[in-house]
Every structure is written in structure tokens, then in C-alpha cells.
């Protein structure tokens, strides 16, 4: 019956464009399961706290002052997400579809810092643990091998991932703000949305780094290619509508740099944490330092009778 078809929930594309036009609007989002309505009224869950009276009086007076930078409530606004929202955003970053801009479709003016922070933390530990495990599995049969947890890899992974997820969005946001001043057709997302997109786009590397344990070489490179394609396309689809009206050279340069940095992170992580042992090349070491902050090192350890690990020298 046509009436039941009209009663069914339809996705409105104009809503996404309306959101683009008014970036400060707060939205109400109704999930497809109709189980929860998320209202952006700030910290709406502290019904048992003593600060509730002040919140109520603010609401009743009709004017809600934005909390100042130095209060706790300012930062609570960045964590105003529910479980299903975080899961939806992760799914959207794993399977990017050309019609769905990540920022407009999934974030909907409600960017969060929970996803980027915990995805980066998980990725750091997953990389360190998988790297350690693959090291162990490769050298297990070797009699002179002595297992060590290689805990310094956690530190290195942490620095690399957090720098990438923090500084690259900052640089991109700064670049977009500058271009907005130069060329009026360029729009920009807020800094928080940029950080959010980058954080969620790293989520595909978590299963990839676990699957890199499988010691089949072509499979590992296939995984890298797939992971880079998926997360790179999330980034490209998100930022393409902003800069496509810019001059051709600037657009191409920006997109190339974004993708190049992303590829550098992926390949650097793969080569550093899952490196193949180099056997018995006497005292020959070659460094290649890459601008993304990751170091690719092929070296051989002069002490051949101890472990075959190749420690990184800064």
C-alpha cells in the first residue's frame, strides 16, 4: 500500500545540505532502530549530581551559556556520544560509500574525541603486540633466538600514531583556513571534525595489523593496499567537496600530500614493526629517514651469536 511506504522512514539528503549551510545548528538524530533519541543539550545524564540545579536554572532561563574553557563541562561536550553512534561511525569509516560524506553523514555536527583517542590507543598497542608476536613467530625455530618483549616499540608506536593523528589534521585544517581566505569557494570543517575524521579513518588499520601476523608476503602487501585504499578513500571523500572548487594545482597538491602521508604511515608501520630479519651482512647498515616521522631501517646486528633482532638506532 502506498500509505505504508509513505510512513516508512526515508533518508533526507537535503538535511545533510542544510547542515552544511548552518554549521552551528544542533541536531536531533533518530536511529534506524528507533531505540534512542540523542538530543544535544550538553551533559544531560547527570541527574544524580549536585550540579543539576544550576543546569536546570540555566535551561529554564532560556539561555544556556557555553561553558568556559577551564571547566570540565567544556570537555564533556566532546564526549557526548552513545555506544551505537561510535559503532556507526566506525562502520562508516571501514566501508566508505561515495555518496556519504563522513562528516556530514555520520558526525552531523556532533564530533567526538572518544573515537579518535581510543582508536589511536588501541592501534598503538595492537601494532606493538602484533609486531612482537610476528618477530617471535619468525624466529621461533632459530636456536640462537632469545625472546624479549621489546617494550620500547610501544613508545615508538605511540609517538608515531599520536603525532600523525594530532598534527596532520591540524596542518590540514590550517591549510584549509588559509585557502578559505584566499579563494572564497573553499569551505572548511572545524578542527574537531578534522581530528575526528582522521581518528576514525585509522580504525581500519586495527584488524589489518592483526592480520599482518600471517606470514604470507603477498597477503601482507594486499592487506596494506586494501587498508590504504579504504582509509584513504574516507579522507578523500570527506575533503573533496571542500576543495574541488579551488584551483586545480592546489587541489591536486593537497590531496596528494594527504594520501602520501597516509601511505607513509601505513608502509612505515608495516616495515618497522613487522620487519624481516636481515642475516649476516657484516657491519653494513643503511638508513632512510622519511618525512612522516617513521624511520625505515635496514641494518644487521654485528653480534651474530645473540638475538637476531635489529634494534633501531636513532
Amino acid at each position: 500500500m502506498a500509505a505504508s511506504d509513505q510512513l516508512r522512514f526515508h533518508e533526507f539528503d537535503e538535511a545533510a545540505d542544510l547542515l552544511a549551510a548552518t554549521p552551528d545548528a544542533t541536531t536531533t538524530s533518530v536511529s534506524e532502530r528507533q531505540s534512542h533519541v540523542a538530543l544535544d543539550v550538553g551533559s544531560s545524564y547527570d541527574e544524580n549530581e549536585e550540579g543539576d540545579e544550576s543546569d536546570k536554572t540555566e535551561l529554564l532561563s532560556g539561555q544556556k551559556q557555553p561553558p568556559s574553557f577551564w571547566t570540565f563541562e567544556y570537555y564533556q561536550a566532546f564526549f557526548d556520544v552513545d555506544t551505537y553512534q561510535v559503532l556507526d561511525r566506525i562502520k562508516g569509516s571501514l566501508l566508505p560509500l561515495p555518496g556519504k560524506n563522513f562528516v556530514r553523514h555520520y558526525l552531523r555536527n556532533n564530533p567526538d574525541l572518544y573515537g579518535p583517542f581510543w582508536i589511536c590507543t588501541t592501534l598503538v598497542f595492537t601494532l606493538a603486540i602484533s609486531g612482537n608476536l610476528s618477530n617471535f613467530l619468525e624466529k621461533h625455530g632459530n636456536t640462537s633466538f632469545r625472546y624479549s618483549p621489546q617494550f620500547h616499540k610501544v613508545t615508538i608506536a605511540g609517538v608515531a600514531i599520536y603525532c600523525y593523528a594530532g598534527l596532520v589534521p591540524l596542518a590540514l585544517w590550517g591549510y584549509l583556513q588559509w585557502r578559505k581566505g584566499v579563494c572564497l569557494n573553499v569551505a572548511s570543517y572545524t578542527l574537531l571534525e578534522t581530528v575526528c575524521v582522521y581518528g576514525y579513518s585509522l580504525s581500519v588499520y586495527i584488524p589489518a595489523s592483526v592480520l599482518w601476523l600471517i606470514p604470507v608476503s603477498w597477503l601482507q602487501w594486499l592487506l596494506i593496499a586494501t587498508a590504504m585504499t579504504l582509509s584513504g578513500s574516507v579522507l578523500v571523500l570527506t575533503f573533496w567537496p571542500l576543495i574541488r572548487l579551488d584551483s586545480r594545482a592546489a587541489t591536486l597538491a593537497a590531496l596528494t600530500i594527504v594520501l602520501a602521508l597516509h601511505a607513509l604511515l601505513a608502509v612505515g608501520c608495516k616495515l618497522y614493526f613487522f620487519q624481516k630479519p636481515v642475516y649476516a651482512v657484516p657491519l653494513h647498515s643503511a638508513h632512510t629517514k622519511a618525512p612522516g616521522g617513521a624511520q625505515l631501517l635496514t641494518a644487521s646486528h654485528p653480534r651474530l651469536n645473540s638475538s637476531m633482532t635489529t634494534p633501531l638506532r636513532f
Partner: protein
């Protein structure tokens, strides 16, 4: 009206206490006695000042509180005793002993060693602080130190696992010992996570519980990993 009735009735009946005015005390009967008022001196015990008690009492009281919380962690029931009287002695003792047992190798050894004491210490405390901040930012109603207290006390099963692992490693370091260590560490990891979830889950908003529990899971997973990969130098 009542006064008029009273005076009328009083005039008819014998006045009360009529004979009292005839009573007099003869002067040759001495009136003597003693009046003592007990001075209200409170003994020091009723004041409940802990300043004067012996040091042993003070220490035993704190030790008993810590021990009671250890028992609560090993048999996690839904009780609020852990939350109400929080203290950080237990977590400190557990963290220091775990870090002492976990530190691998000396600083100048060329091998890629295990985590140093400072790394374990920082991971445990910094991790607990980050998880507490995370749960508060998501809208939890638990206070900062209560959450630190719970997370620290729930490291107890993993410390026990570390002790068992060290003992098993003394016996040998082959595949059998690895499997035994794996089972013990996995069981204690599950115990830690379930214990801390039992204490912390109620204070979170209902549709964000998974968002709060996942970091706790990750925290105990990393500690378990450090325990499992410990190799005696």
C-alpha cells in the same frame, strides 16, 4: 468563667495545702548533709581522638581496611564498601610489587628488554587516570578517587598471576610452562575485568556502558600482556 467557677468552688471546699503553713522546722534539729555534684570530666577515650592511640592501632586499622577491600575484589559482590571508603594504599602496594616483579633487565643491557619499573608504574597509574577521566567525561557519577581506587584494587588478580608465573618460570620455560602461564593469566585477566566492571558499571549512563568498559578491558589486557611475555633474564 472558669475563674469564677474556681473561686466559687474554692470558697465552698477546703483550700489546698491548708496545713502547710503550720509546718515549721524546729531550730534544735540540725539539718545537715552533703551535696556533691559529679564534675563532668570526660575520659579521653570517649573523645575518639586518634592522636593518642598507639601507632600499632592506627596501622592495624588501615591494614584491616585494605585487607577487607582485597577480599571484596577476590569475591566481587555488588557492595558499596569499596566505593565508599576509598583509599589508595592498596593500589600503591599492588602497583609497586607488580612493577618490581615485571622489570626486565638492567638499563645498560643491549638486549631489547622488558618494561622498566618506571614504564610499568606509569602505564598503571596513567592508564587508570585516563580511564577515570574517560568515564567522567562520558557522564559517569563516580568520583575521581573512587574510580582510581577500584581500578587499582582490581589489579590484585593480575599480581597473583604474576607471582604464579614467576614460580612456574622457576620450574622451567618450555611449552608446558607457557600453556600453564597462558591459562593462569587469561583467567586472572577475566577476573580483573569482571571485578572492576561489577563495581563501576552501575555508575555509568545506561547506553554508554560499553564505551566505558572497553578502555578497562584494554588496560587489563595490556597488563596481562606484559605479565605473559615476562621472561626471566
Amino acid at each position: 468563667m472558669a475563674a469564677a467557677e474556681g473561686s466559687g468552688a474554692g470558697g465552698a471546699a477546703k483550700p489546698l495545702f491548708a496545713g502547710l503553713s503550720d509546718v515549721s522546722i524546729s531550730e534544735d534539729i540540725p539539718v545537715e548533709g552533703e551535696i556533691t555534684v559529679p564534675v563532668g570530666s570526660r575520659s579521653p577515650d570517649e573523645d575518639y581522638s586518634t592522636l593518642d592511640e598507639p601507632v600499632r592501632d592506627t596501622i592495624m586499622r588501615d591494614l584491616k581496611a585494605v585487607g577487607k577491600k582485597f577480599v571484596h575484589v577476590m569475591y566481587p559482590k555488588k557492595s558499596s564498601a569499596l566505593l565508599r571508603d576509598w583509599d589508595l594504599w592498596g593500589p600503591l602496594v599492588l602497583c609497586v610489587s607488580l612493577a618490581l616483579m615485571l622489570q626486565g633487565g638492567s638499563a645498560d643491557s643491549k638486549e631489547d628488554g622488558g618494561p622498566q619499573f618506571a614504564e610499568v608504574f606509569v602505564i598503571i597509574w596513567f592508564g587508570a587516570v585516563v580511564i577515570t577521566l574517560n568515564s567522567k567525561l562520558l557522564g559517569g557519577t563516580i568520583s575521581f578517587f573512587q574510580s582510581l581506587c577500584v581500578l587499582g584494587y582490581c589489579v590484585l588478580p593480575l599480581t597473583v598471576a604474576m607471582l604464579v608465573c614467576r614460580l612456574v618460570l622457576l620450574a622451567g620455560s618450555g611449552t608446558v610452562s607457557f600453556i600453564v602461564r597462558l591459562i593462569v593469566v587469561m583467567a586472572m585477566f577475566a577476573w580483573s575485568t569482571l571485578a572492576s566492571t561489577a563495581f563501576l558499571a552501575d555508575s555509568q549512563p545506561p547506553n554508554r556502558k560499553a564505551l566505558v568498559i572497553y578502555p578497562i578491558f584494554l588496560f587489563y589486557f595490556v597488563i596481562s600482556w606484559m605479565i605473559l611475555t615476562f621472561t626471566a633474564q
